[in-house]
Symmetry: C2
Subunit: 480 residues, 2 copies
């Protein structure tokens, strides 16, 4: 990994000291005193250069700031460039099964096992104590859990109208292999989720039968057959039939617990421990979403999904959107890291499945083959490459993004696809801590700058970046 050589970070060049000091000193004190003098001189010069550079930098910034409030009002439209002065650490996986010791609390050393490299995924047993698990579950119950369903009315339809696509255009988009017929898996690959309802090959056959869509009964839709369907025919049919909770993308309840100042000690402790675990600047963890506590009852599940979307230039991150002051057509959660805590040991089922972990290739289309949908965590968890058994107190965490190779967030890691398998016996309590970072450094910096301009409060755990105020107030936080 390259160290991020900032403009004035000359001290980085000091770290690999000339080995002379260590090795050849055994040999001759002559060389030693000369090399020692050299090292001191190098230290001294680099130090002086450093101080001068810093002075110049501060002076330069002050010079710009001289205009006062009038400049302030112009700053946002001007959107100054921020120089990147941090390099995000990324924990090494080495190989699947590798165990490294980590120091997260004062009286204990934790073991962290690499579960996969794609995504970069680790497991840490006993991350939370029994007591901490109990407290989190109780706090969530006190606050009250809401249904996690993702019912979105008419979203799909509007998009289609907006893009002004003809049925022929849609047919061509869906027809992946361009054979002039729509196979079941071609429909499902693009529209597995309709208004929060999860379509299976069986559902789709029922819909065909109910709507008499497949006139020739060959299990395929021709363009003629497709043309006769209205764009919302599937949804309307499903809603008429009545939708069961097990047919949803996600069958659970959840709530959000604020972890900032004044929050329960256990919640603040967990946040601090996550900061140590991820080795990220505390401000980044502070500025992230609150802790999400999720309860899956018997029969509960969450089909496989990404916690974050891919980020293109025209995509904004939810957390930096306001600060970025841009109007982008798309928005996604930018969750660099997911930390998932198991708050109880589940009696049956409820594993966290990573269908394509460490696969050689990722191909969205081949996630459904021969009517087996790898994303379906009610049916096909056993076919996932990796499953993590929920054990009380264990934490798993993974990166939803790759590195950009320069110390910042890069592309989305498609292999981070994961889901919650159906709970077959008992209940399943988990908590999620997401760490939000915008892959666009400028937007993240602008956002942090904006937050830091809010009235100052006494920062008790402010170790890295300056800002530590939490924009996700428990009252104003939007459900994600």
């Amino acid at each position: 990994m390259e160290t991020d050589a900032g403009d004035t970070t000359a001290p980085a060049t000091l770290s690999p000291r000339p080995p002379c000091a260590r090795i050849s000193c055994h040999k001759s004190s002559n060389i030693c005193s000369r090399s020692y003098f050299m090292v001191v001189m190098v230290f001294f010069h680099i130090y002086i250069i450093n101080v001068i550079a810093l002075l110049l930098y501060v002076h330069y910034n002050d010079g710009h700031g001289g205009a006062g409030p009038s400049r302030d009002s112009h700053r946002l439209p001007a959107q100054p460039e921020f120089l990147r002065d941090i390099s995000l650490p990324r924990i090494e996986g080495i190989r699947v099964g590798h165990v490294q010791k980590v120091s997260l609390v004062t009286d204990k050393v934790h073991e962290m096992r690499t579960l996969s490299l794609k995504p970069l995924l680790f497991e840490i047993p006993d991350f939370l104590s029994e007591e901490e698990c109990r407290v989190v579950m109780q706090l969530a119950q006190l606050k009250g859990l809401m249904e996690s369903q993702l019912m979105v009315q008419e979203g799909q339809e509007e998009l289609v109208e907006e893009l002004n696509l003809s049925p022929e255009d849609i047919f061509n988009l869906l027809d992946i292999n361009q054979d002039g017929q729509l196979q079941l898996h071609e429909i499902l690959t693009h529209s597995r989720v309709r208004d929060g309802i999860w379509l299976t090959p069986e559902n789709l056959r029922e819909i065909y039968a109910g709507l008499k869509a497949d006139k020739d009964g060959n299990g395929l839709l021709s363009l003629e057959e497709f043309r006769l369907l209205s764009s919302d025919a599937f949804q309307r049919f499903l809603l008429q039939q009545g939708v069961k909770r097990s047919q949803l993308v996600r069958n659970s309840r959840h709530t959000w617990l604020y972890q900032g100042k004044g929050a329960h000690r256990v919640l603040q402790d967990i946040k601090k421990r996550v900061t140590r675990l991820t080795r990220l600047p505390p401000a980044l963890v502070d500025l992230s979403e609150p802790l999400q506590v999720v309860l899956y009852e018997q029969g509960g599940h969450y089909h496989a999904h990404h916690d974050s979307g891919p980020v293109y230039p025209e995509t904004a991150c939810t957390h930096t959107r306001l600060a970025a002051n841009t109007s982008t057509p798309f928005e996604t959660s930018c969750r660099y890291i997911t930390v998932l805590f198991y708050l109880n040991s589940v009696e049956g089922g409820g594993e966290t499945a990573f269908p394509v972990a460490d696969n050689r290739t990722y191909d969205e289309v081949s996630l459904i083959q021969n009517d087996v949908d790898l994303l379906d965590t009610r049916k096909n968890c056993d076919k996932s490459n990796l499953r993590v058994k929920p054990t009380k107190g264990t934490a798993v965490f993974w990166y939803n993004y790759l590195s950009d190779g320069k110390g910042w967030v890069g592309e989305q890691d498609e292999y981070s696809l994961h889901g919650g398998c159906m709970v077959t016996h008992g209940m399943k309590w988990v908590a999620n801590k997401w760490i939000n970072i915008d892959p666009d450094y400028q937007r993240q910096a602008r956002y942090q700058q904006l937050v830091s301009q809010q009235p100052e409060d006494d920062d008790d755990d402010d170790e890295g970046l300056k800002m530590s105020t939490d924009p996700y107030n428990s009252d104003t936080h939007q459900d994600l």
Copy 2:
């Protein structure tokens, strides 16, 4: 990646400067002057601590060194512990297909593409110029190429006698699935290579027929059938039949070109470029094997193999063996990195195949399935996960070892398995540069210390570690 925090490397904490200097300065010059003062003070204190620590360290080492020559003579048996003061850089792959720009020569920027993550494998087009390729091939021809065959007489047999294994013991070792029968692939998995001869399932069937070994003709060897064979029956049969070059593990000729002082300018340039490419301390590259130039004629091949063996406590590295001053029963080449240069564009075949690159799992036994031996580069290159086409001037390089997570060499990377596919048209010229590092840091340090005690010569390209003398003299170098 963790930076290697040595005992006095306090400057590392300076790199992520408090963002105050950058961000909040826009806001108020009040805070600024205070924070600026703070930063300068922190700098100053860390600097002072640093200098004191360095002084103490050097003083401490000098104190030990005071005994003079008498201490020197006792050093080797005592084998002092070396403190590790370097962290080996490892280039990030990010994801397959990722391209990063690298600066290797003054007038050009090279593009380096990630070909796989397991092993960590890169391709750099135009690493060598046409002229350089020509010079290397001509130098190799001037020096003369030798057959690369690996015929080792009676090695296997001796080991068996030494271990004093009964036919029953050997049968049980070979019988992987413990069904009391030896399938073809069970024999091949353990003894694909006998005296440098490569066994295929077809060969084995011919041997069974020739020796009338498989009495009941079911294609399997029972314990009774196995007991009737002498331990060298297969080899003797093969040698009687006459062995063709195509039946060898490796069908090529090669030579070694010294790259140290006085060597051809092109060879020295290549060494320097490899040092820049790998970002390793120059001394490590200097102390590695010379450049190996290999010629595969039409029909030539090299079945899939590892360039380095796994390193257990009882295994010594070839390059540090003498210096380590230990008597270990096993020895292996410790080649941290392989850099492979294509010196011509091959007309047909000759790809470098990585049969299991980026496989989810590595399982030696499943390398042969249904009579398809993935290691066989004469037959099954098309079934390899990855094949690199030989293009003049292109270099590929990969790591044969994982990181240990602490900045040094870790376990062997089994996924680095690779071979040269059969050349179907024309000739194939390649060169190999191996970078030798002992996964045991103490042994590597002892070796470098020993080499550095040889009479000093003027080091012209001595940038990193001190030692740059080359123990692989072109005259004394043993063929590997």
